[in-house]
């Protein structure tokens, strides 16, 4: 019983990481329908941003890294959208292959610049240690990631629901042509969407440095799970993504607890495939007269 309870914070923090990673995809994949295979490398770029900042900010580089990585990686995403992806809208297969190529290039660049071996980013001192609650150890770093995920979800939720640009994003998602006919500069909205989605990946990357060492292939570890969270949650549905991330995180933690890591993956995939057979549209769907 006690050991079971111990897996709860583990599962939730895995879920929080998944959610952070998926949150960016919620923009580029969920809102725009672009399958950006380089999204994982944007995580990696965010993590290395924190690593680079270490030279100036030492152990505080994680905190400084959060906003800096948002901007740096956001600009990378913007460049990718402007330079490549926008020429292939409506051609998902081409986009998938091209961005996969970009992801390989980015991995190689990371290898050339930072070397192939993993590196560590020192966590700030105040994140060391933890508290014991009900006999379960809660690491501060895990709590921090959980809090960061909650904060990011609230910020993204507010942005989409209440802000001017968020409204325009939703309008473009629902009816691109009508959005243009309403005076919305759809190309500009695409750019902002890509900037934010990529920037959030950068933030997630910084958070990942708290979990363990980082390397050039960091992105490929998370990219599939992140896409799964978005698909299982229902495209572009924030509530769905939160629930899916939490469930997948717990599923991962408990499956791994009872078996081993690779078997755990098999179990999780089997559950997801079964779920998508029953509900191919994901946990949450948009409902309206126009769509039914």
């Amino acid at each position: 019983m006690h050991a079971l309870l111990g897996q709860l914070p583990v599962g939730l923090s895995i879920g929080a990481v998944l959610l952070l990673v998926a949150l960016g995809l919620n923009f580029t994949f969920g809102q725009m329908g672009v399958v950006n295979m380089a999204h994982g490398e944007f995580l990696m770029a965010g993590a290395y941003t924190a690593f680079v900042l270490q030279a100036w900010f030492g152990a505080q580089s994680v905190l400084v890294g959060l906003p800096v990585a948002f901007v740096v990686v956001g600009l990378m995403g913007l460049a990718l959208e402007r330079g490549l992806i926008r020429h292939f809208y409506g051609r998902p297969l081409d986009t998938l292959l091209l961005t996969w190529g970009v992801s390989l290039i980015l991995q190689q660049v990371a290898r050339d610049v930072f070397g192939a071996p993993n590196v560590d980013v020192a966590a700030p001192g105040w994140l060391a240690g933890g508290v014991d609650a009900a006999g379960v150890r809660l690491h501060y770093s895990r709590l921090f990631i959980l809090a960061l995920a909650v904060l990011c979800v609230l910020a993204v939720g507010w942005y989409l629901a209440r802000s001017r640009t968020g409204r325009q994003m939703r309008a473009v998602t629902q009816n691109r042509q009508l959005a243009a006919c309403s005076g919305i500069d759809t190309a500009r909205v695409d750019q902002i969407t890509f900037f934010i989605g990529s920037g959030v990946a950068g933030v997630a990357g910084v958070a990942l440095t708290l979990i363990g060492p980082i390397g050039p292939t960091l992105g490929s570890t998370y990219i599939v799970d992140a896409f799964l969270v978005v698909v299982v949650g229902g495209l572009g549905q924030l509530r769905g993504a939160v629930l899916a991330a939490a469930v997948l995180g717990l599923l991962n933690a408990y499956a791994e607890f009872w078996s081993d890591a690779s078997l755990a993956k098999v179990v999780v995939f089997a559950v997801i495939i079964a779920f998508l057979q029953v509900r191919p549209q994901g946990l949450f769907v948009l409902r309206s007269r126009a769509l039914t």
Binding site: L178, C181, G183, I184, D185, T186, L286, R289, A290
Partner: protein, 231 residues
């Protein structure tokens, strides 16, 4: 106000418009007529830049806008209500109006209030999602959305298509009022001859992508349009 010269357009290799000439003078209501599939929607979409023109020009107040983006034309105060009462189904009625108003770059709530003044019925529906409105309510919302940007020219594609008669009358009345009281210029595609004859003072009849007859109310003898539209 709007001048279309030798406009050609199509979809891929299929050409649909074969050199359309059209003039909409300031303060006029011009109706484009024609049987199904002759290219009326294609013409309006090309005028609005939704579809690129392959030849010819579109002039607004003398300025060549043929290569301008759709949003730039809308911000240049041409309102467009595409065919099929289009709204953003997941946005509320209020957000549907707000998003168009904000696209103009202004922040005060003026335009939304003015548009609601034209269709007061929408006031009770402000918090409802547009996707849950009836077809007629959606069309009123679609027109209100186009009015939010305070257009000088309003382009309407079959505003009364597939809508219950009571709301057709309201829409017709709204267009008349806007035209008479505010001097709004209107370019209209209308399939119902009686409505077109009541609203418009000039007519352009299209067949297979070309203009076959053009003229004012007086120039078109009784029954001539009927004959041209008959199948």
């Amino acid at each position: 106000m709007l001048r279309v010269e030798g406009l050609t357009a199509g979809y891929g290799r299929a050409q649909v418009l074969f050199g359309i000439d059209l003039e909409v003078p300031a303060g006029a209501v011009v109706s484009v007529m024609g049987r199904n599939g002759v290219g009326k929607t294609t013409l309006l979409n090309t005028v609005m830049g939704v579809l690129p023109a392959t030849g010819g020009r579109v002039l607004f107040d003398g300025a060549d806008i043929t290569r301008r983006g759709t949003h730039a034309r809308v911000r240049g105060r041409i309102g467009y209500v595409p065919q099929g009462h289009g709204t953003f189904p997941q946005l509320t009625v209020e957000e549907n109006l707000l998003v168009a108003w904000e696209a103009t770059g202004r922040r005060d709530p003026g335009g939304v209030a003015a548009a609601l003044g034209v269709f007061p019925r929408l006031r009770e529906l402000l918090k409802r999602r547009a996707g849950f409105l009836s077809g007629g309510q959606q069309q009123q919302l679609a027109i209100a959305r186009a009015l939010v940007t305070d257009p000088r020219l309003l382009v309407l594609d079959e505003p009364t298509e597939g809508i219950q008669p009571s709301i057709v009358a309201e829409i017709e009345e709204a267009i008349t009022t806007l035209h008479q009281n505010r001097g709004l210029t209107v370019l209209l595609v209308e399939q119902y001859l009686d409505i077109a004859l009541r609203l418009a003072d000039a007519f352009t009849v299209i067949d297979r992508g070309s203009v076959v007859r053009q003229g004012g109310r007086a120039e078109l003898r009784d029954g001539e349009i009927q004959r041209l539209l008959a199948i």
